[in-house]
Amino acid sequence: MVIQLWWYLLVAIGLFTIGLFGAMTRRNAVNVLMGIELMLNAVNLNAVAFWRYVSPTRTLATVDAAGETGVGEFIASMDGQVFALMIIALAAAEAAVGLALIIAIYRKRKTVRLEDFTLMKG
């Protein structure tokens, strides 16, 4: 059995929806942030899977350990991985700011329950 692209995509979709469910339902703000991190991970998994399976390729010569030469199709572009790296960096920034906000709110309101934050109530 060879690993297919859609296996990864299915895992990514599952991870995304689980994270979304967490972000929608958890009462604790830190937990909501965890859900968002899960969603970001799902996106990353998608990006890397696409990098692995649908990147442009180029033909290169190869030599194996026994000295046999041959020709192989190799992935030529690193765009998918660059995407994932950027998202990891953004996630770090997001987590830092988000947690700082949670701490600041906690100092003021002594709670991290999201349902207590209803200042935007119309």
Partner: protein, 736 residues
């Protein structure tokens, strides 16, 4: 230099000059150097734009109009590359754009010069809150800010006219909308100005939504938003129009899908050009400074809607691209709305007292003329009227500004003896025509130029408005009576009636403002305005008198042959599709009827207002009409109806019954105080029967609706998240 291929390379500078002026003025304000130098910066910017646009115009005159219409001069730069093509930013110069951009350049330059004097009052208008002394720094910054706004506005208009695609048009269109908001609300500390700004912004936004939907529809059908493509692939060219007409009819009707798309675009024009039913914002927009009224709400911005229809005309008539004069389903509605608006606004203008409000309704009415002309396929006549109207309406607004300025100065002069202030309920209004009179001898230049603009607007022969308005009416007459197209007949009847009313309300205005004895001390002491305000008036009045001669029908008796054919028609007579509009042969009957209507309007105006102007100011003769008068004076209660339906429905879902009650009753009481005892009696009756019943019903609906809606608007971010993704699912279901 005047070769189009040379000068056209620099045409992108036309909107850029004013944009640079905008940035420079902002820098001046931030560095604390705003003030008179900002006005000079703005005038230099728009002046450079005007000179360049005139050069472009001269370049266009040297080209063959047919060639230039079908293969306009274009330059574009990629803006957002995407997939197969890219969205571009570019300029497109064809006869339509060249004529309009030259008009905008000249009119805006005059208005900028005028405004540099008109806005002088800003320097001393603000006081420090603590010390109570005049805050000169703040005043200078406000003065500078005005010129920053108008420069940005000019950028929007010039960029819009020169746009090479619909999306870019929308960008500049929205810049204009923003500037309109900022300028109407320039004196935002006045509640009416702030409200008017919000009203204008939101009302035009309704139209913009339609416009944007239309752009997306065109993108979906044609796959591009470029007006003209290099290989004939633009939306105004044959291939795209065929795809539009190949969409067929809306199921179950005879109405083509292409007409639906055209009407979406038209929705944007309805908002911007203040056509019924989105006209309500324009009269209120008169809360802005008068130069703004002249520039945005008379001469240029409101013309943008008409320009958009003219620009998209091939799409409007796409069902029959071969015969450009034919009226398609979409155009039928355009003509109907235009004609209705022309007549509707003219009747309201008859019963207004505010000098600028009369002109505002007159503008709506004249825009209606242009729209209905486009609707019946009188493309050239509509553009002609667009150009002439811009000049004489700018002149009229600037003239009214000069009058207001004079009366304001006069009121400062005779302030002590002024009687109104003691009563407290009726502060002196320098825009109320009943407070004027006798200004003809006190402000001679203003009087003469205003009269020239009025004669042009009312369509008295030889003046500019006559030729353009008569061409519209002649086309309508020709199609309505000759070819028996019912909508054209309606257009002609409405247009002729509106022409009569136009002459009537404008003569009423002239007599009330300028003749007889002054009604107030303020009018008695009104001085002539400063030179910087008078010279633009004089310059614009030259156009108001003579501009029409470029569009005299070539077979007009005596005059036609001496003017060398009809140069305007020759220039504008071609569409990007290559279709050609044949000029009408001159017909004396409609011309005589429209002259008769204009003279009749003047005669009636003289009888009611001219003979004894002072008495007419004291008590308007039209008040004899009773209920009709009241209806006209209150603008058919459209604002009240909107207030009671859309506005209330939107705002009061979350508010309580009591709030609604106090608002309506308060509004009614204020209105009653304003228009006298008659209205208050009517209001009393309306209050007791209709309003109370409505209030109870609406209150019940409100509380129920509020209860349901408040479940959504609970302030919890997670609920919003659920709703967002629920919407996403719904969208997925819809598109799948």
């Amino acid at each position: 230099m005047s070769d189009l291929n040379t000068i056209g390379q620099f045409a992108w500078l036309i909107p850029t000059f004013t944009a640079v002026a905008f940035v420079l003025i902002l820098l001046q304000i931030w560095s604390g150097r705003g003030g008179r130098s900002s006005a000079y910066t703005a005038i230099a910017g728009i002046g450079a734009s005007a000179v360049l646009s005139l050069l472009v115009f001269v370049g266009v005159l040297r080209e063959d109009p047919e060639h230039l219409a079908t293969e306009p001069f274009m330059r574009s730069w990629p803006w957002a590359p995407m997939g197969t093509g890219s969205l571009d930013f570019g300029i497109l110069i064809d006869p339509l754009a060249a004529v309009t951009v030259a008009m905008v350049g000249i009119v805006c330059t005059m208005i900028f010069i005028y405004a540099s004097a008109y806005m002088e009052g800003e320097f001393t208008a603000y006081r420090d809150l603590r010390s109570g002394e005049v805050d000169h720094a703040l005043g200078a910054a406000r003065y500078a800010r005005f010129f920053a706004y108008v420069s940005l506005f000019a950028t929007g208009m010039l960029g819009f006219v020169l746009s090479s695609n619909l999306l870019q048009s929308l960008v500049f269109w929205e810049i204009m909308g923003l500037c309109s908001f900022l300028l109407i609300g320039f004196w935002y500390y006045k509640p009416q100005a702030a409200d008017a700004a919000k009203k204008a912004f939101l009302t035009t936004r309704i139209g913009d939504l339609f416009f944007f939907s239309g752009i997306m529809a065109i993108w979906a059908v044609v796959g591009t938003v470029d007006f003209v493509g290099a290989d004939g692939g633009g939306i105004l060219q044959g291939g795209a129009l065929e795809r539009l007409s190949a969409l067929g009819d809306v199921p179950g009707t005879v109405f083509p899908w292409a007409g639906v798309i055209a009407l979406l675009i038209f929705g944007g024009a309805v908002g911007k050009s203040a056509q019924f039913p989105l006209h309500v914002w324009l009269p209120d927009a008169m809360e802005g400074p008068t130069p703004v009224s002249a520039m945005i709400h008379a001469a240029t911005m409101v013309s943008a809607g008409v320009f958009l229809i003219a620009r998209m005309y091939p799409v409007f008539s796409s069902a029959t691209p071969a015969t450009p004069g034919e009226i398609t389903g979409g155009m039928f509605i355009v003509a109907g709305i235009g004609a209705f608006t022309a007549l509707f606004a003219a009747t309201i203008a008859v019963a207004q007292y505010d000098i600028k409000r009369v002109l505002a309704f007159s503008t709506i009415s004249q825009l209606g003329y242009m729209v209905m002309a486009l609707g019946i396929g009188a493309y050239v006549a509509a553009v002609f009227h667009l150009i002439t109207h811009a000049f004489f309406k700018a002149l009229l607004f600037l003239g009214s500004g000069s009058v207001i300025h004079g009366v304001e100065h006069g009121s400062h002069h005779g302030h002590d003896s002024h009687g109104h202030d003691q009563h407290g309920h009726d502060p002196f209004d320098p825009q109320d025509m009943r407070n004027m009179g006798g200004l003809g001898s006190r402000m001679p230049v203003t009087y003469v130029t205003f009269l020239a603009g009025t004669l042009a607007l009312t369509g008295i022969p030889v003046f500019a408005g006559f030729w353009s308005k008569d061409e519209i009416l002649a086309e309508a007459f020709h199609k309505g009576v000759g070819l028996h197209i019912s909508i054209a007949l309606f257009v002609w009847l409405a247009g002729t009636a509106a022409a009569f009313l136009t002459a009537f309300y404008m003569s009423r205005q002239v007599f009330m403002v300028f003749s007889g004895q002054p009604s107030t001390k303020a009018a008695e002491h009104a001085p002539e305005s400063a030179p910087a305000m008078i010279y633009p008036l004089a310059f614009l009045s030259i156009f108001a008198v003579g501009l029409g001669l470029v569009g005299v029908p070539s077979d007009f008796p005596w005059l036609g042959e001496r003017l060398g054919g009809n140069p305007f028609h020759h220039l504008l007579g071609y569409l990007p599709t290559g279709a050609h509009f044949e000029g009408l042969t001159f017909d004396a009957l409609p011309a005589a009827i429209s002259i008769g209507a204009a003279v009749g309007g003047w005669a009636l105006g003289y009888m009611l207002y001219g003979k004894d102007a002072s008495a007419a100011r004291a008590r308007d003769p039209l008040q004899a009409l009773g209920g009709i008068w009241l209806t006209l004076n209150r603008k058919y209660f459209v604002d009240e109806i909107y207030d009671a339906t859309f506005i209330k429905a939107a705002t009061s879902f979350a508010s309580l019954n009591a709030l609604f009650d106090s608002r309506v009753v308060d509004g009614a009481v204020n209105g009653a105080a304003w228009s006298g005892g008659l209205l208050s009696r009517i209001n009393g009756w309306v209050d007791a029967t209709i309003v109370d019943g409505t209030v109870n019903l609406v209150g019940y609906l409100n509380t129920e609706g509020a209860r349901l809606l408040s479940l959504l608007q609970n302030g919890r971010i997670q609920s919003y998240l659920v709703v967002v993704f629920f919407g996403l699912l719904a969208l997925a279901y819809i598109v799948s």
